[in-house]
């Protein structure tokens, strides 16, 4: 049995790294998401900056050992600012041949590969369509390969326990994590505590996982092939209390914070859909915070129940992903026509149709902006990092209830599932939200407007003397009664458009990053922020003058977009679609020439492909 004391420890060096990217890959049942999360959380608590990228198949438990069943979790940690999980990795942990085959292309030459040799057998080669054992054919000669019989070593470590073989084998991910902890000088404390808290009622589960973790750690300590261990110092971050948060959780919490600051009940009408479901399930935990969730019979009932709740005075939200947004469009038109406050969160995924449900894409932009019948302008925001999903969810709610209009918030699968350190914000530090509503009086004209913002005021059912009817039919501009007068309709269409455009007065001016003027301006929006920022950082380090302009307010756009663009010789719009924002910019700013860089593979940009394209343009 492997313990801390009974092994010979080889002498080895210790080296300092600025940042390191690691990918854990295995079967979808191998616990790779948990392993990766533990490594990220441990590193974050140590003080590193962190960015993660979980990448999992649409199948819940694909056939074991198959290529399409491979599930992965990539994490980059650093003592420097980390904006993305990185392209290629410094360490790959592959739990079986299929995982190795599908991921080895991402491992940097000369770097570390850890494999579980117990899984490298003819049965698994066949499942992964591999003819020759890659551990023996020389194909891995450019890497530092650490071959470990992980399954049998884990079983050995747990041999005294009354567990069946299957349960023992399940802990091998912790054996792998233990090894990685040793190599990167991480403490095991956080993971031990995690198991104690989570499985306190099942002591044998805690014991098995902790034993496997420690066995992996001490086993790594004995290996001569590990000639160096690494230190990654804490990053310089703003002082405060932090936690690791993913985009969906941050969205859910931002919604709760907004309802709290508006002193309203939060109502979420929703229908499960990948990758948005987690917002619904997260919010169902908190009826005690005046949160009402309603899992409806379909996407349409998700939004229409929210419209009902908005009318009755709740902070109303519906959450979905692309296909669901399509189903909701008619109801969005109704909310817009009745000028009710409503937040529609769209966690984008690869489309069209079922498309790539577990992969990321930015291809719903035009749907969000224009995908409705009639003239139906809507405020559109896009969050750009896991942690700022909190702020944009908050902001979406604020704009909705202060302007009495629907607001679309776009996030995507990449930031929804990815996590990063979040400097926790107190609700008292966030802006106050003041819903436009009339609570007393003897007369109410539903379509009277604020002169400055053109927003109307609501009166909730239950308020005496304010009885009124709203509807989808066009209304008279002053009384709100049904009107078919041609000029009135034209005027109302203009008012609804103008109302959205005037929101521009309330949104912050844009600032570029890295350069205020130069040879190239990289224009991005939404979830690509981290990858674009990493690439622009890199190319500036190489001596180029490239700026980065990133949009969170899509409609209306910030006022100073033109001023910024004028200061650069060339402009390139980078998106995970075929060029939807580029189209929008060409319509809005015909005086500029826009280059494009696009990727539609269900994956985020890599630094290399971006910098290559930037150099080509300069």
């Amino acid at each position: 049995m492997i313990t801390e004391d009974n092994q010979v420890k080889p002498t080895r060096e210790s080296a300092e790294l600025e940042n390191v990217a690691i990918r854990f890959v295995g079967d979808s049942g191998d616990g790779m998401q948990l392993t990766g999360t533990q490594f990220s959380d441990t590193s974050a608590m140590f003080g590193n900056d962190v960015a993660t990228f979980p990448n999992y198949p649409a199948e819940i438990r694909a056939p074991q050992g198959s290529l399409y069943g491979v599930s992965g979790f990539q994490v980059q940690i650093g003592s420097v600012n980390i904006t993305s999980p990185g392209d290629s990795v410094d360490m790959l942990v592959a739990m079986n041949p299929a995982a190795l085959k599908t991921n080895i292309g991402s491992l940097k030459a000369g770097q570390i590969l850890i494999v579980d040799t117990d899984e490298f057998n003819s049965k698994n080669f066949e499942k992964a369509h591999i003819d020759v054992n890659p551990l023996e054919d020389g194909s891995l000669s450019s890497f530092k390969v650490i071959q470990v019989a992980m399954t049998s070593l884990t079983r050995e470590a747990l041999s005294g326990m009354t567990l069946d073989n299957k349960s023992m084998t399940r802990s091998k991910n912790m054996f792998a994590l233990g090894m990685v902890y040793f190599i990167y000088n991480r403490s095991m404390e956080h993971t031990v505590e995690f198991f104690e808290k989570k499985f306190g009622k099942k002591p044998e589960v805690v014991e098995a996982n902790v034993k496997a973790l420690k066995a992996g750690y001490y086993f790594a300590e004995t290996l001569e092939i590990i000639s160096t261990t690494y230190q990654i110092a804490p990053a310089k971050m703003k002082a405060g209390t932090y936690r690791i948060i993913n985009g969906n959780q941050a969205t859910a919490w931002g919604l709760m914070a907004a309802a709290h600051n508006a002193d309203m009940r939060l109502f979420l009408g929703s229908y499960p859909i990948t990758p948005a479901t987690e917002i619904l399930s997260e919010l169902t935990n908190y009826p005690n915070f005046n949160v009402k969730t309603f899992q409806a019979e379909d996407e349409i009932a998700g939004i229409t129940s929210s419209i009902g709740a908005a009318f009755a005075g709740n902070m109303a939200v519906t959450t979905t992903s692309g296909p669901g947004l399509a189903l909701k469009t008619e109801a969005m038109g109704l909310a817009l026509m009745m000028e009710l406050p409503l937040v529609i969160v769209n966690v984008q995924r690869g489309g069209p149709s079922t498309g790539l449900p577990t992969k990321t894409e930015q291809s719903d932009l035009l749907q969000a902006l224009y995908g409705r019948h009639g003239e139906s302008p809507m405020i559109v925001l896009a969050a750009s990092t896991p942690e700022n999903c909190f702020n944009y969810a908050f902001q979406a709610c604020k704009l909705a209830v202060e302007h009495n209009t629907p607001v679309i918030l776009l996030t995507d699968g990449y930031i929804a599932n990815g996590s990063a350190p979040w400097k926790i914000q107190k609700t008292s530090e966030l802006p106050k939200i003041t819903p436009r509503v009339i609570k007393t009086g003897d007369h109410y004209n539903p379509y009277d407007r604020d002169e400055k913002t053109l927003a109307r005021s609501l009166a909730y059912p239950g308020t005496p003397n304010m009885e009124h009817r709203l509807g989808g039919l066009e209304k008279d501009k002053s009384t709100g009664n049904i009107s078919y007068v041609p000029e009135n309709h034209e005027l109302m269409v203009q008012i609804r458009e103008e109302k959205v455009q005037r929101v521009q007065n309330e949104i912050p001016l844009l600032k570029t990053e890295y350069q205020e003027e130069g040879d190239l301006l990289v224009i991005g929006w939404g979830g690509t922020y981290g990858n674009l920022s990493a690439a622009v950082h890199q190319i500036n380090k190489e001596g180029y003058k490239v700026g980065h302009m990133h949009l969170n307010y899509i409609n209306p756009l910030p006022k100073n977009v033109v001023d910024i663009m004028k200061k650069f010789k060339k402009l390139v719009v980078c998106e995970l679609n075929t060029g939807q924002m580029a189209k929008v910019f060409r319509i809005n700013f015909p005086e500029f020439q826009f280059h494009q860089y696009n990727k539609i593979q269900g994956f985020p940009f890599t630094t290399v492909e971006l910098t290559d394209r930037f150099k080509e343009l300069i």
Partner: protein, 334 residues
């Protein structure tokens, strides 16, 4: 809190009613405006929600809170209103196409969940507002704009669909009987749970006379049975016909014939939770069952939800969202 006193005029809006002359919708509107003051609730607490169709104009004409929304979605929108503020008295005005074609999904799920919402289903067996296409309750063989050779889609029986969807309350009423309607609306308001009232509404333009054989004053008493809870199932001008159970079917018998007495006649039990008899009554063609066919008290969705909320509150680890945000695995950066 003291409830204000109202008359039916208080529930008339300033909007001109735009239904076709002679439409049963006028009857229902007036019956409702007479029922509302009798419900013992403040005017501001009523909300009428409708979808699209002739009958969906209903909310414009009732001076309460209301929404005229989109086709088929009234049940879902009403659910949101009720969940957001359970103190409101929420009513849905819908038609056969609105509720059972485009809005079928929301309709059955509202009935299943049992929110305390009242649905008035204006069933005229035709699409009126789009000028005469067959609806999900149009009869087989019925000639309409979109079935010139006769309808080949078998119809829904709304009562059967509703009870099959776990409806706790189902009633059926003629379109031209305002007094009975007013009474029924008051009963529905008193009932705790989703209540569905099917109104046999004549469309004077596109399906005129579709219910004449049941609702015409001459024949009405002989072909309809007005069910009352706890009373024997008797009908006919002379109240001498009644229903008995023969095997698994209802059969019409005449008092005094073949030794039949009132003791042999079935007694209506609207509160029986087993839906078998209510389904048989809903399906019956002769006589056509009207009145409250089913009224089974059950916990409402919002009651169960509120109880759950209280329980979660009592055991909640965190009192505020800030406590939650700062809980668990946090760390300090200095």
């Amino acid at each position: 809190m003291e409830v204000k006193q109202y008359t039916f005029k208080d529930f008339q809006s300033n909007q001109e009613v735009r239904w076709c002359p002679g439409c049963d919708d006028y009857v229902v509107l007036r019956a409702m405006q007479k029922a509302l003051p009798e419900m013992g609730r403040n005017k501001e607490d009523f909300v009428f929600i409708s979808g699209i169709g002739c009958s969906s104009r209903f909310p414009y004409y009732v001076d309460t809170y209301g929404m005229h929304t989109i086709h088929g979605r009234a049940a879902a929108i009403a659910s949101g209103v009720k969940l957001a503020n359970p103190n409101l008295s929420v009513w849905v005005a819908t038609g056969d196409g609105d509720a059972m074609a485009i809005g079928g999904n929301h309709f059955i799920h509202l009935l299943r969940r049992n929110l305390n919402i009242k649905i008035i289903l204006f069933n005229n067996e035709i699409y009126g507002l789009t000028k005469g296409q067959f609806s999900p309750t149009s009869l087989l063989g019925q000639k309409t704009k979109t079935s010139p050779y006769g309808n080949i889609q078998p119809p829904f029986n709304p009562g059967e669909l509703a009870i099959g969807s776990s409806a706790r309350f189902f009633a059926r009423i003629g379109g031209n009987v305002p007094k009975e309607q007013t009474e029924l609306f008051i009963q529905a308001e008193k009932f705790k749970g989703t209540a569905l009232i099917e109104v046999l509404q004549n469309c004077v333009i596109f399906n005129d006379g579709c219910y004449t054989k049941y609702t015409d004053k001459e024949v009405k008493d002989d072909v309809q049975i007005l069910l009352e809870h706890g009373k024997p199932m008797l009908f006919g001008k002379e109240k001498n016909k009644g229903l008995v159970l023969k095997g698994l079917k209802l059969e019409v018998v005449t008092l005094g014939e073949n030794g039949v007495t009132e003791a042999n006649i079935l007694v209506h039990d609207a509160k029986e939770s087993d839906p078998t008899m209510h389904l048989m009554l809903a399906r019956l063609k002769y006589p056509l069952a009207t009145g409250i066919i089913r009224a089974v008290e059950d916990a409402t969705y919002e009651e169960v939800d509120a109880t759950l909320e209280e329980k979660v509150k009592a055991n909640a680890k965190f009192k505020t969202v800030d406590e939650l945000f700062f809980s668990g695995e946090t760390y300090e950066v200095k």
